[in-house]
């Protein structure tokens, strides 16, 4: 009580001194927050054929800075219920180091549990897809590519973003450690030579504190190819694309584990065979030892036509601080049937069915 009385005498003076600048800053700048992330990555393989991209950005024995990026999010609270947010990202990609709006949308809070969002939104499919560019949030250098790529030659289980609307439900059970939620979304996905229209999907998720996260997603849409794509893949035009994903993440004591699987169906055939349907999955197991998190990952992907990859990765993430993580990984990429079923994520036919890749990265959030 006495302590309170002693401090009371000094607080009003401080309050008065501070209230003037606070009042001046009560405009939109006071309601806007800016956050950022940065990743520097370098990968090299022992194979001349480019992996995961063309000669501008793909990874081969000359090395690549693919995955190097800088992102800034800006969120402004317009009033108690309405906010707008955007992520601007500059990334090393096939066009050089181009800047684009990764997502930009408005959120309107309908109630404590329901939020309506509209604009360009991150595709809410896949355990880590909504923050897939923010390396600090997961142990790998990149999210497992056999499930997370949207390249035409890959799984296409999830997408970077969609333009449309989302009804988000987030609630909790009991004392608040169990959270449950869903994201009902509708819109279209714009790709380089194709637009997937009428995309309708739902993601259901539940988390228990930071320990357990379960997620299930399903969506469908109709593929519309442009003239260039039609010249090669006319069979895809106006056919259905759908996918179902299941995922789980555990972070218990020092154990970190991820497991996720995706089944993709593309309703078209070439020479009497379905070539777009594929199954992919990955599993990761890591054990935290102080600032080090060593981990192993196995990924597999196979299309109906036999195209496939298997990737085994041994990696370590070292937390330099709460905001900076240094990572190193060694992967072996195996490919069967590439002579007959295509080279998958290799841009051209690789010399052998086994490619080794070494990657290092620094991930920062600020």
């Amino acid at each position: 009580m006495n302590k309170k009385l002693v401090c009371l005498s000094s607080v009003p003076l401080l309050s008065l001194a501070l209230s003037a600048p606070m009042a001046l800053a009560s405009g939109w700048t006071d309601r806007t927050t800016v956050s950022g992330f940065y990743s520097a990555r370098y990968s090299i393989t022992d194979e001349a054929a480019y992996f995961n991209g063309n000669r501008n950005i793909g990874i081969n024995d000359d090395g690549s800075f693919q995955g190097t990026k800088l992102g800034l999010t800006v969120t402004t609270q317009i009033d108690d219920d309405l906010s707008v947010a955007a992520l601007l990202m500059s990334a090393a990609d096939e066009d050089g180091f181009a800047t684009h709006v990764d997502w930009a949308f408005a959120s309107f809070r309908l109630s404590d549990d329901f939020t309506l969002r509209a604009g360009k939104l991150k595709f809410p499919v896949g355990l880590v897809n909504e923050y897939v560019d923010v390396g600090v949030t997961y142990p790998w250098i990149s999210a497992p590519i056999l499930l997370y790529t949207e390249q035409a030659a890959g799984a296409q289980a999830t997408r970077e973003a969609y333009t449309g609307a989302s009804l988000l439900w987030e609630s909790d059970i009991g004392d608040g450690d169990w959270s449950v939620g869903s994201d009902l979304f509708f819109g279209q996905v714009d790709l380089e030579n194709m637009t997937v229209k009428g995309v309708l999907g739902v993601t259901l998720r539940t988390t228990w504190d930071d320990v357990l996260e379960l997620q299930a997603s399903s969506y469908r849409g109709t593929m519309h190819t442009d003239a260039m794509m039609n010249a090669m893949m006319a069979a895809m035009d106006e056919r259905e694309h759908s996918a179902t994903l299941l995922g789980a993440k555990i972070d218990w004591n020092n154990i970190v584990a991820y497991v996720e699987a995706a089944q993709v169906e593309m309703d078209f055939t070439m020479m009497g065979r379905t070539v777009g349907n594929s199954d992919s999955w990955y599993a990761t197991l890591g054990y935290r030892m102080g600032k080090f998190l060593p981990h192993v990952t196995r990924q597999e992907w196979e299309r109906d036509n036999g195209a496939n990859h298997q990737i085994s990765t041994l990696g370590v993430a070292y937390s330099l601080s709460d905001s900076v993580v240094i990572k190193a990984e060694q992967s072996r990429i195996e490919t069967d049937n590439f002579a007959t079923a295509g080279s998958g994520l290799f841009y051209s036919t690789p010399a052998s069915g086994s490619t080794d890749m070494t990657s290092i990265a620094v991930d920062v959030i600020f």
Binding site: K3, K4, V6, C7, L8, V11, P12, L14, S15, L18, S19, M22, A23, T33, S35, F37, G71, T73, T75, Q77, D80, D81, A85, A86, L87, W103, F105, S107, R109, D112, L121, K122, E130, Y131, D133, V134, V136, T137, L168, E170, D172, D175, G176, S179, D210, S319, D322, S323, I365
Partner: protein, 149 residues
């Protein structure tokens, strides 16, 4: 006899000073943290679990008023106490938790202020604002929803 008494008294005084220093040190280490709110919020108390949900952005309104959160900076003793005893998250886990929300565009973390006085000033003048401070720093401009010892 006189000198002996003085010697005894010196010993007692020394012991008393040492005890006092320990008490002060203990008081510093176990300072109470008060969760304070703008007086416009109709709720008069929250539990530890409720406070945890508020500071993790899960509870978005209190008594029908949208909440706005205040934080103290990293390294502040009250912040350490609050996040250890109430929210029960390490700084590293907290950073990762908010990164997933911020970079998915689903929310903003609490606004950070430099001192208890700044938190009190902002909470007192901002409808729906809640913060935590060392309870000894509290004054009548805000109301206390919870004390964490």
């Amino acid at each position: 006899m006189y000198f002996k008494m003085i010697k005894v008294n010196r010993q007692r005084v020394t012991a008393s000073i040492i005890s006092l220093l320990f008490l002060v040190a203990a008081g510093q280490a176990f300072a109470e943290v008060a969760v304070v709110a703008n007086k416009g919020i109709s709720v008069d108390s929250v539990t530890v679990k409720e406070a945890k949900k508020i500071w993790l952005g899960k509870t978005k309104s209190l008594g029908g008023t949208s909440v706005k959160l205040a934080d103290l900076p990293k390294g502040n003793a009250s912040r350490d106490h609050f996040y250890t005893s109430v929210v029960k998250k390490s700084e590293k886990k907290l950073k990762a938790y908010w990164a997933k929300i911020i970079f998915a565009g689903k929310g903003s973390p609490p606004k950070t202020f430099g001192s208890d006085a700044e938190v009190i000033s902002w909470v007192a003048s901002t409808p729906g604002a809640v913060g935590y401070i060392e309870s000894a720093a509290n004054n009548d401009s805000v109301k206390v929803l919870m004390i964490s010892k």
